[in-house]
Each structure stands twice: as C-alpha cells, then as structure tokens.
C-alpha cells in the first residue's frame, strides 16, 4: 500500500497521483477533512495536498466580466473580495459568514464544494449565482452548473480520479445578490439559509433563489423563481414560499427540527426578497 503525503506542484501532477493512488484523499485547507480525521470518521492511507499549486490560488476576472475562482482560494480572500458586484455579491456575503476568522484563513472554496455538506454556505450561494464548477480530469477539464454538481448528502458529481479545480461566476449584470443565514450562534453551520439573486435582463427582473440547510442539496425550483421574477405580488411571494417549504427535505438535528426548518423557509425567503427589492430599487 502506498502511504504518505504528496505535495504536487501542478494540477496535472495531482491528477497523476490520484490515478496512481486510488485510496488517496485530496486535502485542500483541511478545515473539514482534518476535523473528520479527528472525529475518526476518516483514516486516509494517503493524502494529496493541493497547497503548492499556484494556479489554484488565483481569483481572476474572465474576459466576459465574470470570475474564475481557483479551488484553493480561501474563504478569507472571498470574504474580502470587492470586485464581486451586483448579483455576484451573494458569494462574498456567504464567504464572510463561514465559521470564524481563523477557520476562514484555512478553508477553501474547492474544499467546501467537494465536501458538499448541506449546512455549508457556498452551495446555495453558488446555485443562486448560476456559478459552474470546473472539474479537472485526466482527459481534460469540463464545467458543470453548480445546481447539477451537488447530488446528495456529501455527494457530488465528481468521479474517482477527478478534482475540483475552480469555480466560475458568470459575468456580473445589473442587480443584487444576498445571502441570509439562520444559525444558532455566529459561525455555526446554517440551520437554514437563503441565497437570492435578482438580475435585470433589460426587460424584466429575473430572480433565482436557493435554500440551504434544508435537504441533501441546495433547493432551487424553477416555478418558485418564476413566481419571484418580474414584478411579483404578495400572493406570488407567498406561493413561492409554500412551494419551497413543501419541496424541502430537512432533517431533525441539533440545529433544529425538520418542522422548525420548514417554518423558517417562507419567513427567510420573504425577508431576503424584501431586502433585495429595496436594494434593487436603491441601486437603480
């Protein structure tokens, strides 16, 4: 058996190691992986550390006015990012609410999305932002919408031997994005969260809402988005809340009962929607 810690200097080298060592796990910032090792949920035989791969640390503006966020970008960097304007602010707001300042110095966006814990802040924010996940594999790289990447509890569309290399944010258009989190104490995982973006497509307002912490993956519904787009009436907002509440699949845990989480959804949605509408009006 191959054991040890490998510190490749490039994505290609990391992929070669993953191919050679099928039992290896990837370690990014360690904030989730090492906590799981300490809790004896994991005992990896080999680790591939991404710490030395410079390409993965960059946050770069893409030609279309969007952003490519390297998988090893820290929560701290994204929380302090001032270039994410309009709807993309949802990602910055989510990053700023992750855990606490010290953990934000360690944790990475790639590690968080690959871990896919439903209580994390990035998954709903990335789904609402219409982000895509860049996956590196031996045969090349591909991109997948965030909404398809999260498959189930702690389960993503990643195949063996693949890794998350970046997160792509679409070009910022006029609009607003915000992330509201309900947690027992500052820095806890979300009991429930709402990520919301409103984008003006030149004709009407297009709204996207994703609920976090209330099921195996971020909950987004085309019908709820449709009801919240354009110029919705109070009844549309209520119906969208009812739809999301009925479709949610929360569990009972220490952060709240399933019933409690269901009750939070329409209330948090209404609060986020009202704030977004006020901010959209103010920025017009």
């Amino acid at each position: 058996m191959n054991t040890g810690l490998f510190r490749p200097a490039s994505v290609a080298e990391a992929l070669a190691l993953l191919a050679r060592l099928p039992e290896a796990r990837i370690i990014a910032g360690g904030a989730s992986l090492v906590a799981m090792i300490n809790a004896r949920l994991l005992d990896p035989a080999a680790l591939v550390s991404l710490a030395r791969i410079e390409e993965l640390k960059q946050i770069t503006e893409t030609s279309g006015g969007g952003f490519r966020i390297g998988a090893m970008a820290r929560h701290r960097d994204l929380a302090a990012e001032t270039r994410f304007s309009g709807p993309l602010a949802v990602v910055q707001m989510a990053a700023a609410q992750i855990a606490n300042a010290t953990v934000r110095n360690m944790g990475t966006i790639g590690g968080a999305v690959a871990h896919a814990d439903p209580g994390l802040d990035y998954p709903p924010a990335l789904v609402a932002a219409d982000a895509s996940i860049e996956i590196a594999a031996a045969l090349g790289r591909r991109r997948m919408p965030a909404g398809e990447f999260f498959v189930d509890w702690y389960t993503t569309a990643l195949q063996p031997g693949e890794m998350v290399s970046a997160v792509h944010l679409p070009a910022a258009r006029p609009g607003v994005g915000l992330y509201h989190k309900f947690a027992r104490v500052s820095g806890d995982y979300a009991t429930a969260s709402v990520a919301l973006t409103m984008v003006s497509d030149g004709i009407a307002i297009v709204t996207r809402v994703a609920i976090g912490g209330c099921g195996p993956t971020p909950l987004m519904m085309a019908e709820a988005n449709r009801l919240l787009s354009g110029n919705p009436a109070a009844d549309d907002l209520r119906r969208a809340g009812d739809l999301l509440q009925a479709a949610a699949d929360p569990v009972d845990d220490v952060r709240g009962s399933a019933e409690y989480r269901r009750m939070l959804i329409p209330r948090m949605l209404a609060r986020a929607f009202d704030e977004a509408r006020v901010r959209a009006g103010a920025s017009r």
Binding site: L5, R7, V34, N38, T102, V103, M106
Partner: protein
C-alpha cells in the same frame, strides 16, 4: 497506520525535525512531541479556538493543520510570543481587565486578538465580537475580553 513522515518546520524561531504519522495534527506535535502546551486541545474540531497559533503569519487552528502538510512553514505559539509587542500589550490588558479566569482559552484568545489587531488597529466592540467569534470562553462572559482587546489596541497606537 502509515509510516512516519519526515518534516522540517520552524517553531518559535527554532528549526525542528519531526517524524510524524500522516494524520498527526500540528496541535499534537506541539503538545506531545515538543512539550509546548500553551495551545490547548478543546474540541479538536476547529470550533473552540483554544489551539489557535500563527502559521506563516496567519492565525490557524493547530487542530485542523496536519504537521506533515506544514513542511517548511513557521509556527508561532504563545511560548514564542514573549517578546512580541502586541502580545505583551494584550497580556497586560487581559490581566488588568480580568479577561481570564481559568485561563484554558487564553493562549488562543491572545493569538486571535493579535491577528485581529494586525488587520484592524482600532476595533469597535462589534469588530472584536466578529473578529474573535471563533474563540470560546466559558468563564468571562466575553465583555472583559472585548474591553481588554480594545484597551491593548489603544496602547499599541499611542
């Protein structure tokens, strides 16, 4: 159990060579191999902040850092911070304000406060609450810690 991995790190300005298992945390190496017991093992899950140390100038959780993954990096623990101006000011202010009782969380509090003051030389009450929300204290009720951090900030500015 994997074979031991050889690692060179710098701890409080001394170079240290260690042979550690793959999954050994920096906290375990500091406490059990180097007898540096200032950083405490509270939750071992990154929640409580009692193990906070500086790694290459950035505050991290020693319990969430694998020693083998720290090759070539520099660690500063409370034991090595005796000559640090900010730590000294914080220690004085913690004593004057009564910002500790049992002391278990204090090394982590001091390192986290030092990291906060590097980012923000004049933090408001809310800034301290947010900046140090990851350091739990079961004795003081936090107000005295907030007062102490702000007092140290004022002294460091003057």
């Amino acid at each position: 159990m994997s074979d031991a991995l050889h690692v060179n790190i710098k701890v409080n300005d001394s170079t240290v060579a260690l042979d550690v298992p793959l999954t050994e945390t920096l906290l375990t190496s500091l406490r059990d191999r180097l007898q540096l017991t200032g950083a405490k093992r509270g939750c071992n899950q990154g929640v409580c902040g009692a193990c906070t140390v500086m790694l290459d100038g950035v505050a991290v959780r020693a319990c969430l850092s694998l020693t083998a993954n720290c090759e070539g990096q520099s660690v500063l623990t409370i034991e090595g911070a005796g000559t640090d101006r900010a730590i000294a000011a914080l220690q004085d202010a913690f004593i004057e304000e009564g910002a500790l009782q049992c002391g278990f969380c204090t090394p982590g509090q001091l390192i986290a406060a030092r990291a906060l003051l590097e980012q923000n030389t004049d933090p408001s009450v809310e800034d301290v609450q947010k900046g140090m929300s990851g350091n739990l204290c079961r004795c003081t009720g936090y107000n005295k810690i907030i007062d102490a951090v702000r007092k140290a900030a004022q002294r460091l500015q003057s």
